[in-house]
Symmetry: D2
Subunit: 314 residues, 4 copies
């Protein structure tokens, strides 16, 4: 009925917002993310919540964070990038500071929920969302419920093995999806393409400092937008991998739509079309059943904040 607060913990900012039940972001507040993590970070989150609670009546607070969350959604099991937070019962720590019910959710799950309720997945019941950035985050909605799993690792689709004995992943396994289909992988594919064809790379290199190391995703996207062949071929390589991964995920989950978000989605159909082509190429029983739609996310960076605010609604 009323308002909830969503808070998204990023690498540099803790960003909070008051969200109504239509997903509209009424008001924002932010703090810098304390580099020391731990209690300082917990307090920063509480401060953002308390600031937003001053002028509005808030029912509850949702917190979105890149971490494994316990199945009861209270405790941070493990987080790769935040110091002194593993094992923290964040539900207790925040509730005792702000006096409101708290819900904690993984960031990719939060974003998937945001898109499901208010964005590209609105009106559907079964969606899969990929957040394609440094890695590949995943969120799965089944029968209009978030798929959480037994131990807090469901929807870690970036770690589907797509290449046996392939590249070593930060998770300790080999050949994970995110080693081939993430934004990081797109940059690697770009460097390799430029090294192989330096004579065709000027359109990309001229948009940066001229060095291969200095190439940014935005330069590749811009060059591809101009029809540059090398840039387009880079999106085709990455898109083919993403499409292959989605084909495998589709036979397991059979979603109505696959929503692609994260920084790379700025490229729009330049990325989405190779993903569609790849998915069709690798889909089992092709032609015998409908395929999921591949669509771009609509809520941008605020999907997680809006999503977790809604998950906090009782």
């Amino acid at each position: 009925m009323g308002y909830t607060v969503g808070i998204d913990i990023g690498g540099t900012k803790v960003l909070g917002g008051v969200v109504d039940e239509t997903g509209a972001l009424i008001k924002r507040a932010r703090r810098d993310t304390p580099a020391e993590g731990g209690v300082a970070l917990t307090q920063a989150i509480a401060d953002v919540a308390l600031e937003l609670m001053k002028d509005s009546e808030i029912e509850s607070v949702g917190v979105s964070v890149a971490a494994f969350i316990s199945a009861d959604r209270k405790t941070i099991l493990a987080t790769p990038n935040i110091k002194d937070w593993n094992g923290v019962n964040l539900d207790y720590e925040l509730t005792s500071r702000i006096g409101l019910p708290v819900v904690i959710e993984n960031d990719a799950n939060s974003a998937a929920w945001g898109e499901f309720k208010f964005g590209a997945g609105r009106g559907k019941e079964n969606i899969l969302m990929l957040t394609v950035g440094t890695g590949i985050g995943g969120g799965i909605v089944v029968n209009s419920n978030l798929l959480r799993g037994s131990f807090g690792i469901a929807a870690e689709i970036g770690h589907l093995r797509i290449v046996p004995n392939g590249l070593l992943c930060g998770c300790g396994a080999y050949g994970c999806f995110e080693q081939y289909g993430s934004g990081t992988a797109l940059l690697r594919h770009a460097r390799e393409a430029i090294q192989a064809h330096p004579d065709r790379a000027s359109n990309i290199l001229n948009r940066g400092d001229g060095s291969i190391e200095g190439v940014k995703g935005s330069a590749i996207t811009a060059a591809a937008g101009d029809g540059d062949e090398l840039a387009l071929s880079i999106f085709e390589i990455t898109g083919d991998y993403i499409g292959a991964g989605i084909a495998s995920l589709a036979v397991i989950l059979d979603p109505e739509a696959v929503v692609i978000g994260g920084g790379v989605i700025d490229a729009g159909d330049i990325l989405l079309n190779p993903i569609r082509t790849g998915m069709e190429k690798y889909m089992p029983f092709a032609g015998k059943h409908p395929h999921p739609q591949i669509i771009g996310a609509q809520l941008g960076n605020e999907a997680g904040l809006v999503g977790v605010a809604d998950l906090a609604r009782i």
Copy 2:
């Protein structure tokens, strides 16, 4: 409260049973599966149901079949082995013949539901079941509900791609899980092992007609049970592939348990142990979260019949 009927359509028999709400099979009936499929098969199913309805009060009837079923669970979208059944609205055809509500479900889904309710998965909320036979069938239970998907292809886990550009699968794609982890694959691994080491194969070959082509799964299982090294190594190869597939599925679905059924489960820990070893070897973030238990199915061939009878319960 009362009884329902479950009917399982096999390659040679249409097997039906009256099932109570505890999953107990009260009474059985059967017909040969008509080779011509089509109306003859529909009528055989109706006959089995009508026979079972004579002496007991039946609420509804469930039918388990190896097919893609429409999302509304009424129509056979496609079935690889039955003639003249594609597109048949089986719900209408049966209801009009027997006068009871009918529920149709994919056979691997039915078996998964049977094990979830009355077998190895009892008391859990999230399980994954693999039926390892000619292929690999899959069934997924999420939050105590069967995962059906949008278009009737969810849980087709036998078609997860585990080897890029790998073996051609009957589904038209390459490198599918069931090409490496099914009972058929186990027999192929056996033939290859025997060809490579004919000097060590007598323990297996002597249990059949002596030829490589004549080797049966039961001979490999029996030899492995005697501690035969070649036979054990065959289970290790197949089990490693199954474990690798389960590791990928676990990061997506995060089940509490993975139930292994199908004919190969006669081998028990001879197969389950290599699967456990493989899963642990390939699991992302190993050591940072609990792993699903790998357990053998308990209901044998009747899992599908019992499962679909329960799904038919209103």
Copy 3:
């Protein structure tokens, strides 16, 4: 000094020719290949030789055949397509019929030698030749000598494993080069591309009977020659695999040039350019050493005949 005869045993024709020391083909003779193989085939070869010996003074006779040849170049160890020839001492059988010294050589080796002496490899000392047809045949020249190996299987490069656990090959192994880079593979890649994009396939399909099964290599080549995008993409897929295989072969053999022959070479740079791109992409230590040139064969179907005639020269 004088003339020799080269005889090439094909699936339908036994084709012979008188060849001088410059590789010029002076005169031809032919017989149908007897379907029964065995003695009838041996006699047909002798007949071709005897016909050519009537008018010219011939020093010796070379015979090129798709088979494993013993290291002493006398005996057919194994041949996949000819009946009743395995184990035949062809040197003895022919010498006793025609009274001249005989040299027997594998067909791909003969073609490689022909191109090395008189064709695309002239003037070089180290070349690798790929004959890309139904499979991939290979011939290797090292320091101006044919690489024969210890047991008659050297240069069977079509069976380099390029995909672990990949497609089953006729040789019994999995993932062999010729499953991905042969003319047969190109047709498979074509069928897959057409199925995935029927809307873009008219330019290819209209050149045949309109069916996917009826698509021929010549249609794909012709469409690609017109700039058809789908046809070009098919050559890119196959060429990428061939280039990857060549990169592996190059680090072993370090040839000055790689000569590509076989039916697919009608496509010229349409095929050679993706091969060059692929080789560069996959080459170890790229940029730290020169790469072999990738060049088209020059002698067409007669490379084997001319090559084996030269190998027969004393």
Copy 4:
């Protein structure tokens, strides 16, 4: 007739020896390898040669070094580990200092030649040698000649691609043989096995400092020698990869024997047996032709020194 000197440039020592025509090492001399490389290293080599030349009449000097050598065997094209040596005409630099003819050869080639002439390959004409250490070095003897190639990269078999899109290699390519079959890979396989089965690792861990990071190859070999199952399984994993690579190399080169050298060969049949099993498993046309023997090297660390001394003989 007389004596030559062989000099092997290692990471810590420049080791020289006077070698007679039977391969016997008559006398030794050594210097520390100057960390600054460049002229200091050239001078150290000259000093070793001059010391050995004092008491014996020496015909010529061979130098073995881990580097790409130009096809004329004079210039260091590239060396990964030595400073200020790329592009040095070592033939000129040394000849001018010592007044004798000099031959420079790649270290793995030198070792292969040593084993071919005086060690495990004696009496054969076609061998392949793998030096399995930090990486995988290769040397190939064809018709009793070293296979050098056109550009100085022949026999770089450690960079055969055995896993598409596999682990990144120091050479810049992905999935190279040495990432899966080297001594370094064996240590990685060991760490992974220990992490997966800490309860079975005591026999290995107790032979070192108890930590996974501290595990050495010698501990794994010793544990395997005691029949420890985990240690044996580690050799099986690495041996399977090596065997797969050898199967691919054998269809190209068809050697009579494959000699395995390098540090890991201390394990003897513990390593050689899984290699043999792997090679047979992956060999194309298995059963239709003889396989190469897999044998251990015999000359140990001095194979390169003795080999290059022989190559220097005129």
